[in-house]
């Protein structure tokens, strides 16, 4: 901008050229690399995998174009049930984790109290722990509640594995993510709005519901969306605590040994499209990109 800059050296020019040409190309390639599996998933959902026609049972090679999978997306035994279970668990765990996490977020940002640092660390720990460790430790604990000595103690027996154990695990790991998201949104919240409401005669409860809550609602929604998507896609933790109950990822993992129906690609594509639409519609509605 100023005229005091020295003339660009050869390396400087090289760098500028690099930055202007090579970097964008590289970025486009990298993003393409990120999107390739999605394209593959989408394309192969239109593959015909018909055993009676000699295609075998696996959707690994292209055979022929077919709308069969799209016309009968839930047609594989167990697919519908596992998908329903996944959705139900995601909804329930999102509700619970959002409530619990929002409360924690409110407490952490608006009050100074003893043990705040410890609580912060406690919230951070599950995000820094590998899912594997969380899953196996939960699984071991659930089993232990069914074996002596805990079996005969007042501790409830959280065994056999099933919907409830999966739900417990999902709520557990979602809480941290909700707290972090809500805190980020609460940090920018202007307390004076609340004080103004109180000055106008509103009590605590009213203030919260009519002033605070609507303003932090987008943050809560963002946290809920995050929790929902984490729960629906969770595989590692769920695999340790699911037992005979299938969720969609568990079902997929189980079936790929024996068959790879294109219905999996169809469901994946549908989930993808729904997510894209959700993001697009929220962008269009607020007129601003979501943060």
């Amino acid at each position: 901008m100023t005229t005091l800059r020295t003339k660009p050296s050869p390396t400087g020019r090289l760098m500028r050229a690099f930055e202007r040409r090579a970097l964008p190309v590289f970025t486009v390639l990298a993003i393409g690399y990120l999107l390739v599996p999605i394209v593959v998933m989408f394309v192969f959902s239109f593959n015909r995998v018909d055993q009676t026609l000699g295609d075998g049972k696996f959707n690994y090679q292209w055979h022929a174009f077919s709308l069969e999978a799209w016309l009968h997306p839930l047609d594989w035994p167990g697919l519908g049930d596992s998908l329903y279970a996944s959705l139900w668990i995601a909804v329930m765990s999102t509700i619970a984790a959002t409530i619990l996490g929002t409360l924690i977020g409110l407490a952490l940002t608006r009050y100074a109290f003893k043990g705040r640092g410890a609580i912060n660390s406690l919230i951070f720990l599950p995000m820094a722990t590998p899912e594997l460790v969380m899953g196996s430790s939960l699984g071991i604990m659930f089993v232990a509640t069914a074996l002596p000595p805990l079996r005969d103690s007042p501790v409830p027996t959280l065994f056999p594995f099933g919907i409830s154990t999966i739900l417990i695990a999902h709520i557990m790991f979602n809480i941290s993510y909700v707290v972090v998201t809500v805190k980020a949104r609460l940090a920018g919240f202007d307390r004076r709005l609340e004080e103004a409401a109180m000055d106008l005669g509103a009590n605590e409860w009213t203030t919260f519901w009519r002033v605070t809550f609507p303003l932090i609602f987008p943050g809560i929604m963002a946290a809920a969306l995050l929790a929902f998507s984490l729960s629906i896609d969770d595989f590692i933790i769920t695999s340790f605590v699911s037992g005979t109950q299938n969720t969609f990822p568990i079902w997929v993992y189980g079936i790929i040994r024996n068959a790879l129906p294109p219905q999996i690609n169809v469901i994946g594509s549908i989930i993808f499209l729904v997510a894209v639409l959700a993001v697009a519609s929220s962008t269009l509605r607020t007129g601003r990109p979501p943060r």
């Binding site: 696996f58 009968h72 167990g78 074996l147 024996n258 790879l260």
Partner: protein, 417 residues
Amino acid sequence: MNEFEKKITAPVSRRVFIHGAGLAGAAAFLAACAPGGGATTAPGATVTPTTAPGATPAPTPEPTPKTISGPLKFANWTAYIDLVGAASDAGEYSPGSSPAIEAFKQKYGVEVDYEEKIDDNNSFIATIKPALVAGLATGWDLIVITDWMAAKVIASGWAEKLDQKNVPNCVANLRDPLKNQVWDPGNDYHYSWQSGMTGIGYNTTAYKENGLADPTKLADLWKVPPNKLTFLSESRDTFGLALLKLGIKADPATVTDADLQKVYDDIKPLVDKGLRFTGNDYLQDFGQKKVWAAMVWSGDLASSAGEDDVFVFPEEGTMIWTDNMLIPKGAANKYTAELMMDFVYEPEIAASIADWIYYVSPVKGIGDLIKELDPGAEENPLLFPTDEIVAKQQNFQFLPEALESKMNELFADLSGL
């Protein structure tokens, strides 16, 4: 101020109430839609464990209630029932479903949750072992496991005693060679599902493309590039065949630790070059053209793989084994499970299943039925092994404990886990 406050707060309390009621209603609705049923929804729901774990089972079976409950949770191996359903039959069966199961569902009006969850005896039993040890329901009503594991499960008291009155077809139609097993002489706890053999499977196209002669002996497997080869994760099958390859009779009574060590030394170089161990997932590998040859179970390639994937009876011999239906302790739908066992012993059903899965049926006299169903199939050695093949069958199932631990140790080292 009070009037003002009243104006602000009154609508809020009404709104809060409506919201609260709405939320409560929604919560009740959601809770009611909880997926899954039976023993697996509530934690700690002990579904009538009849005896404490480890205790000897009751001398006479309790009279099974005659109510048909469901859904029947049936765990089985891959490609082990007539999963004929295809897109072309979309009107009748959805892809991946079985006419035999559909017929059962229609006959008894009960849902069946058939899952091909079993890939390997050890891994499957491990998933239900904690529940069995704790005396709780496992979540399964009917499982199919191989002889040696069935023997262990029964010996540990983890199988439900069958009510023979509920399974007349089984009693009448079980083939004589399969009766009077040492580990369950009166068929109190099990009925055979299918018998099969372990041998060589290979892809003719891959062999031709790469200039390999078709395999006839076990030693030919060692000629394939190891990263294009798989052996079985069932250690008994892998070690058994490898013993045969080395010319050692695979007889549990005569095999020694030194023999097992020879097998280890023979297989280790292959592992170092990329050999893998699979269960039924070799079907996936054949489907992806990932392997050229493998140790396989006799019926799978014929039922579920491509046209050019072929099973071969090795010259040295094959391993013979039988898979058996058992009802795990604490099963919620025991009567329904018994009905299923009885159902698959009906000759027509047995014939239709065997015809599709290409294994040796335990049911007497289905040869004629198969001839009608699928002319020419009665000559198929996979279904009806010839005397020559039978003579070379070896049973390496029941190992003495010391031998078994040695084999497990060596195998764990080979398979990497």
